[in-house]
Amino acid sequence: MLTEKEKHEILEEVKLYPYPAVACLDALKIVQKHRGWITDESVRDIAGLLALSTEQVDSVATFYSRIYRHEVGRHVILICDGITCMILGYESVYDRIFEILGIRFGETTLDKRFTLLPVSCLGDCDHAPAMMINNDLYNNLTVENIDKLLEKYV
């Protein structure tokens, strides 16, 4: 069930558009903002609210890389695997993060603190290598400065 707050926020978006289906992606973003990820139930609920089929909503949900259809941890680490970050040594950064967290790409730590995902370019190529934790951008990463960055996220 969508909460009243979620419904209200989605219907506010609907008002901006010529027809409700346009708010499909906004609705997914809103629910994810409140719950962290999109469950099958949320897909059905959004479909019901916007008078779409569940398949239509899921086709959108599964298309966009920043909509999560699997459970993610409290914090999502997105490490750039773009070309400039590769040139400037992302491999050693990856290895250090794998070592600290004990997980690989696509995995979540057992305590659900972190999910680790690769991401194709963060647009911070003049300060590569870069990564983003939740909405926070970190750049000029080195093996030495990673531990300290992660500490902030509990």
Partner: protein, 425 residues
């Protein structure tokens, strides 16, 4: 050297505030445009300036605008969309204009929307630009408050609403018809063309999609005229360009320079040349979907026409450097992996061809490649190339591969013959 786009930008990189922009003459041109010029006159001025689209394709903005039906009564709904998706690896130029000079973009969008008689405009923003989102939202609220947006702008009788849509990811959203589908809440699969967006765009209505840098140029063209715009470039195409350099240079970054500045000058004088111990081998002139050029070709002037004889493109004008300690096969593999992952999956050559190319490049990089693999790669540069796919995604992916196969053939062969990557111990 004139730098219209960045002359107001603060040296510390902080956002230019509305009051400081207005004090320096910002938004003043709106009064003249909205009160004294007809929309067709605005289009004519931009056409005369020959402003070539700064998103990568270089299509003249004034011509794009002129395809919008002139009769507002027959076609009342029409839209202006700013493409701020900039998701090509190695491209980060629009970030500068979004984060540090949002009001210049807003002013450019108001004039452009007026020219095409649109009363709604959208900024489609790259998902990763979190800081830009906050800055844009604030700047738009300020513009409404100051009467530059909303109803009856500056008592001219012209109305415009401006919205920000932050993307949920996927590179294909940067393709203008994919972008429109995404704005409509759908999968960002590109549309068949024609009809072009100028006839049937957002919600099936006439729509113009322009890049951030393109729109940021508009206030200056209207303020100073087409002749001025044409006079400030080094070659004939007009205007300045935000150039960027990334890779193993001493000072990676972005600089506004006259369009047509030679690549070597940008790399040596602005990016500070290569870091100690590294030599330059080649470069992608304008992002991941442009063909390599090699060191001996770097006196080329960086404009839309000059790179064509070298079988490359200006693209976004953000140069990615290949140095002598980076494996060219790994470099190209990284790019193709990106394009394979970001394919929307709609057409078969792209959906199936790019992962195939990716696997072959990976096997060569891992020392498991065969000489016949090079033929398979070459085959794909044709069959994933122009004319064989639904949009420009796979052809773009093939650009660094096809030129890489020519310029770095010895490196490919060394991987195959030695059965390992020479850059890995």
């Amino acid at each position: 050297m004139e730098k219209p786009l960045t002359k107001h930008i603060r040296p510390d990189g902080s956002q230019l505030e509305l009051k400081n922009y207005v004090r320096d003459g910002g938004y003043q041109i709106l009064r003249k445009v909205l009160k004294e010029m007809a929309p067709a006159e605005v289009i004519n001025e931009v056409k005369a300036a020959n402003l070539l689209g700064r998103g990568g394709a270089g299509f003249p903005a004034g011509i794009k605008w002129s395809y919008i039906p002139a009769d507002k009564v027959a076609e009342p709904s029409r839209y202006l969309v700013c493409n701020a998706d900039e998701m090509e690896p190695g491209s980060f130029k629009d970030r500068l204009l979004l984060e540090q000079h949002p009001h210049q973009l807003i002013a450019g969008m108001i004039i452009s929307a007026y020219a095409i008689k649109a009363d709604k405009a959208y900024i489609f923003l790259r998902w990763a630009y979190k800081k830009s989102e906050i800055i844009l939202m604030k700047a738009i609220a300020q513009a409404y408050e100051a009467g530059y947006l909303g109803k009856n702008i500056l008592n001219s009788g012209y109305d415009l609403d401006l919205y920000v849509h932050t993307s949920a990811g996927r590179y294909i959203c940067g393709e203008e018809t994919g972008l429109l589908n995404s704005l409509e809440g759908k999968r960002a699969v590109p549309r068949d063309k024609p009809p072009y967006p100028a006839i049937s765009g957002l919600f099936g209505k006439p729509t113009v999609v322009n890049n951030v840098e393109t729109l940021s140029n508009i206030p200056h063209i209207l303020e100073n005229g087409a002749a001025w715009f044409k006079s400030i470039s080094r070659t004939g195409e007009g205007g300045t360009k935000i150039y960027g350099v990334c890779g193993r240079v001493k000072n990676p970054g972005l600089w506004e320079l006259p369009l047509g500045t030679p690549m070597r000058e940008i790399i040596e004088n602005y990016a500070g040349g290569m870091r100690d111990g590294y030599k330059i081998r080649g470069a992608l002139p304008g992002g991941a979907s442009t063909d390599f050029i090699i060191e001996s070709q770097m006196d080329v002037t960086m404009d839309f026409a000059s790179l064509v004889p070298l079988n490359s493109r200006l693209g976004t004008g953000t140069i990615i450097i290949l140095d002598d300690k980076t494996c060219p096969v790994a470099f190209i593999h990284n790019l193709i992996k990106f394009f394979a992952l970001e394919s929307c999956g709609w057409c078969t050559p792209c959906r199936e061809g790019l992962p195939w190319v990716e696997e072959i490049l990976k096997s060569i990089e891992d020392g498991k490649g065969k000489e016949s693999d090079l033929e398979i790669l070459k085959f794909h540069t044709t069959y994933c190339g122009p004319g064989h796919t639904f949009c420009a995604h796979a052809p773009g992916a093939m650009e660094p591969l096809q030129s890489g196969l020519i310029y770095f053939r010895d490196d490919f062969m060394k991987h195959i013959n030695d059965k390992h990557c020479p850059w890995r111990s």
